[in-house]
Symmetry: C3
Subunit: 680 residues, 3 copies
Amino acid sequence: MYKVREFETKQLLHGGDYNPEQWLSMPEILDKDIELLTGAGINVVSLGIFAWAELEPEEGVFNLDWMEKIINRLWKNGIRTILATPSGARPKWLADKYPEVLRVSPDRRRMLFGARHNHCLTSPVYREKVARIDRELAKRFGSHPGVILWHISNEFSGECHCPLCQDAFRSWLKDRYTTIDNLNAAWYTKFWSHSYQSFEQVESPSPLGEIALHGLNLDWKRFVSEQTASFIAAEREVVREYSDLPVTVNLMYYFTQLNYARLAREIDIVSWDTYPAWNKWPLVETAEDNGFWHDVMRSLLKKPYIQMESCPSATNWQGVSKLKKPGLLMAQGLQAIAHGADADLYFQIRQSRGSSEKFHGAVIDHYGGADTRVLSEVSEVSEALKKLTPVVGSRTKAGAAILFDWENIWAMEDAQGPRNDDLHWKDLTLKIYHGLCRLGLNVDVIGEDADLSDYSLVAVPMAYQFREGFAEKLASFTAQGGILLTTFWSGVADGTDLCYLGPRPHGLVDVLGLRSEEIDGLYDWEENELVRAQGEDTLNIESLRGPYTCKYLCELPRLSTAKAVLSYGRDFYAGKAAVTRNTYGEGSAWYVAAHAGQEFFDDLMEYLAAEAGLQGPMGGSLPAGIQVTERTDAEHRYIFIQNFSETAWTVEMPAGEWKPLYGNPDEPLPVYGTLVLESI
Amino acid sequence: MYKVREFETKQLLHGGDYNPEQWLSMPEILDKDIELLTGAGINVVSLGIFAWAELEPEEGVFNLDWMEKIINRLWKNGIRTILATPSGARPKWLADKYPEVLRVSPDRRRMLFGARHNHCLTSPVYREKVARIDRELAKRFGSHPGVILWHISNEFSGECHCPLCQDAFRSWLKDRYTTIDNLNAAWYTKFWSHSYQSFEQVESPSPLGEIALHGLNLDWKRFVSEQTASFIAAEREVVREYSDLPVTVNLMYYFTQLNYARLAREIDIVSWDTYPAWNKWPLVETAEDNGFWHDVMRSLLKKPYIQMESCPSATNWQGVSKLKKPGLLMAQGLQAIAHGADADLYFQIRQSRGSSEKFHGAVIDHYGGADTRVLSEVSEVSEALKKLTPVVGSRTKAGAAILFDWENIWAMEDAQGPRNDDLHWKDLTLKIYHGLCRLGLNVDVIGEDADLSDYSLVAVPMAYQFREGFAEKLASFTAQGGILLTTFWSGVADGTDLCYLGPRPHGLVDVLGLRSEEIDGLYDWEENELVRAQGEDTLNIESLRGPYTCKYLCELPRLSTAKAVLSYGRDFYAGKAAVTRNTYGEGSAWYVAAHAGQEFFDDLMEYLAAEAGLQGPMGGSLPAGIQVTERTDAEHRYIFIQNFSETAWTVEMPAGEWKPLYGNPDEPLPVYGTLVLESI
Amino acid sequence: MYKVREFETKQLLHGGDYNPEQWLSMPEILDKDIELLTGAGINVVSLGIFAWAELEPEEGVFNLDWMEKIINRLWKNGIRTILATPSGARPKWLADKYPEVLRVSPDRRRMLFGARHNHCLTSPVYREKVARIDRELAKRFGSHPGVILWHISNEFSGECHCPLCQDAFRSWLKDRYTTIDNLNAAWYTKFWSHSYQSFEQVESPSPLGEIALHGLNLDWKRFVSEQTASFIAAEREVVREYSDLPVTVNLMYYFTQLNYARLAREIDIVSWDTYPAWNKWPLVETAEDNGFWHDVMRSLLKKPYIQMESCPSATNWQGVSKLKKPGLLMAQGLQAIAHGADADLYFQIRQSRGSSEKFHGAVIDHYGGADTRVLSEVSEVSEALKKLTPVVGSRTKAGAAILFDWENIWAMEDAQGPRNDDLHWKDLTLKIYHGLCRLGLNVDVIGEDADLSDYSLVAVPMAYQFREGFAEKLASFTAQGGILLTTFWSGVADGTDLCYLGPRPHGLVDVLGLRSEEIDGLYDWEENELVRAQGEDTLNIESLRGPYTCKYLCELPRLSTAKAVLSYGRDFYAGKAAVTRNTYGEGSAWYVAAHAGQEFFDDLMEYLAAEAGLQGPMGGSLPAGIQVTERTDAEHRYIFIQNFSETAWTVEMPAGEWKPLYGNPDEPLPVYGTLVLESI
């Protein structure tokens, strides 16, 4: 188990990715950069992410002087450096000399050199060459006072199916299953006569061969995450030879290829890159979606993290790239701090002149003058972050948690089941999340392996995969007084995607007081409704009286001890229970059989929060678009209030005594406005 | 020519695919299966379809004892076995040791092991290994009293482009054309300078090379069907060495890759797998579409057949999988019997725990208890089938036939012509079919090679390809008093897709009394109309007065002896004839120039049926959704009345004396309800 | 620099592609062809385009006698021959013996033989074999009195990535950049560490490797055009050894793979193939779009050209193929003449019996009789063309020009920028074109390399790429009194797709009196509006008062000396300038910041034409669908008036004295009607 080295900062960080290697032949540009950055209050940059070809122009020939000059100069001007290892994009000479570093695609074709992230993470040659350049960097800069953090590689993604990876996969499977019979049983290979006689016969999934052996697919995804984690650990250990600085990797929005919960175990601090499509959908949705993913990231290590990339104006890779409206840059930056980040960084500092990202927004654009809207708004953010210095290091405490488990998503999406067109797990999860946010509650987003002892309310929507011990953990949580919320399509399969036999949700039949019998798929144009349950063994709750709509999937439970709260209103299962509550030990276990609408989840979460004794700092429920979060340190509470609605909002001050750290509580909070209060 | 061995059964079969090899390590499951199946009245299962890896775990090492135990035990419990040859999915050791058994895709890449149906049917090694396991099975079980039928392989599909197949294709072409000049002429290779100098130069169609040489494409499809037929024959002959039992292969819904008319010549009884998307579209459409395909299957050998697979609840591979509403399982099962089947079987008996079909509906689900809706409905079906025992072996006699010819569809869809977006041949065919069903008439669905002597009314919609002798057969049929219905886009090309020169429809110009001059494509958003023809040489029919809409394709005929019944209402061809009738010999030949709407075909088929002297058992036309079919044996007529409408229907009894075999004629027939009457 | 040999004709040409090699075994067909063609007034055919296999059935064995017979016979019957070199489709023996002639796709797979245009244009073997057959043809027919023009190959397209092409590409790059450092700088390879150490490392773009190195992509496209031009030149020089006849290549509609401006430098006369989807969209749009592309083609060499292919009835490759309505064949043919063509040719003379184009419309169809609508309309066109003989050789003089530059389109579409979903450059260009056509003005369509001295009004919409000297040329044009129209997204990048630093549009900041600061992408469902500018430094023009809608992209300029005419009406940039005018030297420079609607461009172009002193022959603006163009020779002016509206139009005669060459000016001009006037 890796022992974490804490990242410490005295100020909120503000800066971004910087690529001076592109401008070495234009020193006047580098001069201008220092002038513009210091003028705008930037205090940190990330260096060297794609600089390998400049740092090692030929194999074994290192050229680090230019970087030292840059780091020194930045440091002298009050700008610190997050130093990247350059393994996210390798030089052409490396690919040409050692073709094994090039990935092989699922259809078994060796890629050519190009783009980035196109290297085999298994390749011993690649690991050796990466270690060599990393060692040079660590030796030279690992103790530099201006360098504060290692940024390992960049946005890990993808997979390789080369012979080296096939061998590594087989070894990994041997470690996991010991015998081929165990593997055959776990993957259920008797289906379609696919039994293996030896580990050597296993091939990674391929459109040319196996794509629907779910156990294989699931283990392959696990292996890819393990291989990536091992690559991160290897880079980390190399820089550790010469440097005590903490390390991070930058993660990405809704990225489900890699198990971030696994990767997070190899690093000291989480960082991530966020590019919401602001003003494409209703503002409140985009803001809440972004907030959710901030919570995912913070919950990975349950401590402050870094917003490593965000766009200072318009991206260049979306179908339509919109300018950020005035004030949105500030709102986006402070949303990160509100959710527990200690850093607000951009991609990128200076716009490149050529290649694929030349039109991606930047703090300094092609025009290059100081009189731009972006530079002016960046300066304002710098001012705001200075005012918020007291929150540095403070934590986010949550009494409620929602499940978001990478392995569960892998298994659920891969299985061919009642709704292949779209399971809608994402919007179901966000509906529950919204129901909690609207109460001003902090929310953690957790995996099945999480410790539940901090929470009084836990929601596990569409927990299709129940890994070993999970049902027991939920039962124990409930028995000890917790409020548990489950839904349809839960407890279906084990950790190898083998369906549980007997009643389901597996292991929760007593806790929930029911078993699910059938599940019905609804076309996009169909819906059913949830109405107040009638008859005996029902529980009528005034604030949950419906009717509510429901869509997509409708499960049909048979109740034992559970009480029906709502039942279906239509189709042949009209009158059957659809929402139930069961008392279990000291707690209660709820079950929602169908994908209900937002109104239902608003009402339900309000009821459950009350049942769990949770209350947000603002008391009752908030208008749509008003986001409230809280950070806490040994002495103070900090409340962040942001307006992502379409109109200004007159803030009602929370109970207690507060002083404003940022913003004016006496004025209506404008759209994109933020108010930060500190407890007195 | 293969001599058929008749399949005989004393009872209607009820059962499905069963995979006990998945449960050998859990004997309690196998015990439970017997208990549940006998309790539900199941009387047959299909065994061994995907069991090769269990039957021959290593090359030449056979393990058939477990299967013998299962067959014996089933037999003792009154359940008979349809025994599969396991060639539908081969073991991994076979693919690893003999890579030639793996298919090569059209883009010339050798597949990896995976999925199923991924074997080269040409490979001598594959044929030899299949023969060996088939022989073992036939020796051991070919005379077992509990085994009643051979199920050869499974759902044949796909094609292979390996060097062995290329050679076999070239040999097949040499047999067909004798000289390369003949092939060049047939394929019209002078176009774009594609002439071959020798058969050795021919390559199968490929996205890397030729894809638009229609003669090549057509012959390749024929070759693939021939190769599949030859593979079936080879398996059949092997089991014949030790077994007198009849053989079947299970065919699929709207499957046009393989010419089923060709495959049917190698088997004793047809069986097929049907998975309608019930409750996705209007019920009446789905039921009629399924009924059409039942008629296609029955017409292949013109005798009772087997519904080999259907889903007992929801599938797992559709975009959205809906539960079967109560009563639908019965309706679907009895629809098969109504159209001439003697068996109603399911996929699958017990749901697998893992891999790609683990959520496909099954008679016994993961829960595994007896108290499920599916088991209860399956039991009801068993009861109904017992009551219908008298219909076993009875035949379906039809006086009307519709063309559905695989080669015609291949040629028509491959040719680039007036409407590449969609020719809409399928809905045109179903409109004519509906026009006949609504009169309660039995309908055969036939190919160009069929004998027409049983019919007084024959419809040949969009018969683009006129193979040798077809025009003459239609002419002779008409001359002898038949009523012939033809449409636009007919008689265009010969059997090698070479366009006929001179007037068309080729060979029918005198029969129809016209030639077609031009054909106009209409966009999806365009339509024209058919109105009563004006002027001389017209024939006004009171029940065909229009106006009717028409879409997609409008052909412009020039009449000689034909009389115009309807003409176009719009566009530059307003006033030109669109529907015509010509007296020819003792019969009459109709021509419909455009893709008219359902109302037109309802009126037309009613008129033509009367002209042909055809009348259904219920007299006039039926309400939408009411399906009536008839079976007959030496002594009795059996009328099946099914309600696939949205409301109950009060049955009006047919003329004559009848007793109910199933259902109560005194009560309204509910939705999904069936009434079966036996003549007294 | 290639020296042009002028093509001369005394009559307007009327004919098409003819493939008698398909009918050599049916001499009665060849007889019938002569009868039907002479009867219909056809005076020219294109021969031999796909005849290689017939001309050289085995390597080195030539068979040209049949062609000589055909040419002689045509000549005797008054039909001249455009003789093709057969390199557009090679024989199978050539591909089999020399696999290097087969293309390699971007994913590095060697194609199989098939289709056409599947040959490597770099291959020395292919060039040698082509030269050999070309030489035979030139020797035999190069001085034949019936042969009037060489048709080099056919519809060039596509690219090859084989090793020979890779080498040629590297050599071409070495010539262009001299040093690898120059290439690295031009392609900005420091981005993502992609620096090359040598030219040998460069690989063409591939989905397996680099796809987003825009400098590479752009140079690859240039190389492909150069390689095609060099192939054309090589064929031309071979036929020149024995023949003094001019050469052409047939180009295609909206074809942007190859730089036609580059190809045109190798030929004597332009020809092109046009297949508008008549009656799919509103008639006026289709006609204007086709007219635009006629102008593109004429402007390539600024002299009469050939409509080499068009469809005499319905195509067979569109999604839906519609018949040509009566009169449309005439309208389409005369539109070519109206825009400056001296020839109206069809694909094809006789419909093939087989293969992929067997249902493409033809002058003689499968039926083969004389009594068809097509033959009758073709005869009418012959009559009309005879009446128009005086216009042969006359020129089209235009005072206005619009930019359509292949390299600009390549660069702009490849760059990932503010709107990847669709930049809408095509409809923007057509809006400006429409604004000019509606005034009855002739319009040239030019590239950045064009000489501007003929024009008083030049529009350069979305000129993203400013190659060296272009900004200076525009500045000089304006300074000398020209009216310049520019738009958003202009002057962004240089000729290697490297963004200009500093203010933009690069080099035009003073000319336009502004710099653009930001650009906003709008989703398809969004729009803004343009309203009259308010306040100081504005210029209010009565005929440009708006409001107008605008969509897709909105640029935000900061004005220096420019006057705002219109400003944005909505969003955070409401009130900012959107349409500006700046006086520069003797001229004026206009800038349109957003993709405005047609109404705006109608009003603007009317204003600008007046400012530029341009007036059409009909005086004011024309109703939608009425197209007016003018040709001129030493003695006469010829005005063509065509009606592509939905109703007849009463022609108002232009000022001056005119006599009708075709059509009757005293009758209303019907839909599809044409009136041609000659000055007296």
